[in-house]
Amino acid sequence: MDFSLSKEQLMIQNMAREFAEKSILPVAQQIERENQIPDEILEGLAGLGLFGIAYPEEYGGGGGGYDGYALAMEQISKVCGGVAMTLSAHCMTLSTIMAFGTEEQKQKYMTPGCIGEHVLSVAFTEPSTGSDPKQLTSTAVKQGDKYILNGTKRFISNANWPGTILVFAIDSVTNKPTAFLVDKWCEGYSISEPWDKIGMHGGMLLDVYMKDIEVPAENILGGPAMGYPILQLGISYGKIGVCSITLGAMLSAYEEAMKYAREKMHRDKPITKFQAVQLRLASIASLYEASRWMTYRLAWLANNVKDPVQFAKEAALTKTFVGETVIDLVRDAMAIHGSYGLINDYKISQLWRDSIIAPQIEGVTDMQKTIAAAVLLGAI
């Protein structure tokens, strides 16, 4: 068992840290205020190969694996969760195409995504459901060798950027969820104003309206009626992204707590003299370490998925732990800050708002536990 990072992994981590500190940090407040990522940031990430880091070179990727992806995402998110969120939704889509696409589909849809010309999206959630594929209302009606898509998708990340969107809809032939590769901004595609969400600003969330969008049958991913297994595995890869983003928030809260505790004075001595503060710092450190190694292990597993069902369980368990733990960790970091933590000038206030997002997305925590338990009990 070797838990040390290789030189290449360390270099990827350093590269992401350096880019985040040099290029994202100076505009982080602006992103927070305006809920918009400047184009130069996305171009910079693309130039470094971060849009396709996990994927093979033959599809335009960097070949850095999910381990490299997780390490880089953590560093980016530490500086700006919204930027990492954009990459995460994009990469979840790439992973799904990688797992289920034909060779032709991979060449066509992954390559522009991996090199950062396209920002990809997944559209599953609808106004009436985010957890239950059986309740989907979007339709895909077969007409000759085409499907006509109609419906509304809710809370779709990256729906504003050009690229491919993977749409889940009930197809008229099988009456089951089927996944379609659709070009955003094609005829019949439109979006809402961005939702004004609690945190992770910059990671843009929009509703997508589909009005008689024509999609050739060859754009079905993985075959008709495969929507549910595609979603399950795709979202399992997606959890590496969400967990890494969460790690970044934890690392930032950890640093903020250490810094504040060392600087804040009480009768001429830093508040680290109080055992209560020491215990909170130790707790923060242990929660971060546990989350970190669980996430890195999930990323390592993802490099070589043998059994998608077992992988889905591991992803659900990791997301359950990391998604809930960040709240405890940030709570401790907040406590150390006293009332200053409530002031928006302090980063911990932003982390507080960001941290509640992880347990609520890509399947809420209860759904993660439901999935894990179903696998544990042999029901899936």
Binding site: K7, M11, M15, L48, G62, G63, G64
Partner: protein, 253 residues
């Protein structure tokens, strides 16, 4: 254009912890000094503007160098020439390292320009460039803030404390660079992953012809500023202060 850059492996300064006011160096990952990275970037930029050529990094250090060198190879170096030894090079005296680097450089063909950082990231003694230039009997220009190649010469801007000097030096030459000369590039994922596959020559220190006295080590006695004992005399008002200063013979009575 064949460019050689000398880079020194040092502990990653951002990751050093302190315990009892001393740095804990065990297990700290290795990296190159920032100014060395500027020297490399300068070489890569010259190569790129020239259209062809090769950037070779020379470095002497312990075995970890074989991993550390990937940083330079990812950041644009084409090849590496390494001299390694278990421990003899870690705290070796500058004069020894200069001999080692010189012997390495002599084995490279048709070198047009040698670039060094003005000082290393750890000791910053600033000796290596001048020493190697002397040993190779080459002209040397220090503290470059801009370099332009014109035919067989380099036009170098030297930014000094209160003047800026522009000098011309014939090639081959040694130039040491300042940190302001450029902003080193951040290597991409692909460059990082391909670094390990670039050509690399590794030579054992023992195999170099250095004579017998190459074992001089620098011994670090202390890293803290000398302590000065303060008297900590407390005063309550100006006249007490005057008395105290008089008692210490600091002002006339």
């Amino acid at each position: 254009m064949n460019l050689v850059v000398a880079m020194k492996q040092i502990p990653d300064l951002q990751q050093i912890r302190f315990s009892n006011r001393r740095p804990v160096l065990a297990d700290v990952p290795k990296s190159f000094g920032n100014i060395d990275k500027n020297a490399l970037e300068a070489a890569v930029l010259i190569k790129e503007s020239y259209g062809d050529g090769k950037v070779t990094v020379v470095s002497a250090g312990n075995e970890e160098l074989e991993d550390t060198i990937k940083e330079a190879l990812a950041a644009g170096a084409d090849e590496a020439f390494l001299i390694t030894d278990d421990n003899a090079l870690d705290d070796a005296d500058s004069s020894i390292v200069a001999q080692v680097l010189t012997e390495a450089i002599k084995q490279l063909e048709d070198v047009d320009l040698l670039l060094f950082g003005e000082g290393s990231g750890d000791n910053y003694s600033g000796q290596m460039g001048p020493r190697v230039a002397k040993l190779l009997d080459l002209p040397m220009v220090g503290y470059a803030s801009a370099i332009e190649i014109k035919g067989d010469t380099a036009i170098v801007v030297r930014t000094l404390e209160d003047v800026e000097e522009v000098v011309e030096v014939s090639l081959p030459a040694v130039i040491t660079v300042q940190s302001g000369i450029n902003e080193p590039r951040i290597p991409s994922v692909t460059q990082i992953l391909k670094a390990g596959r670039k050509p690399k020559t590794v030579q054992d220190l023992e195999d170099l012809d250095l004579g017998s006295d190459h074992k001089n080590q620098v011994v670090t006695i202390d890293i803290l500023a000398p302590e000065s004992n303060r008297k900590q005399i407390k005063v309550n008002n100006a006249s007490q202060l005057l008395d105290a200063l008089k008692n210490e013979n600091l002002i006339g009575g």
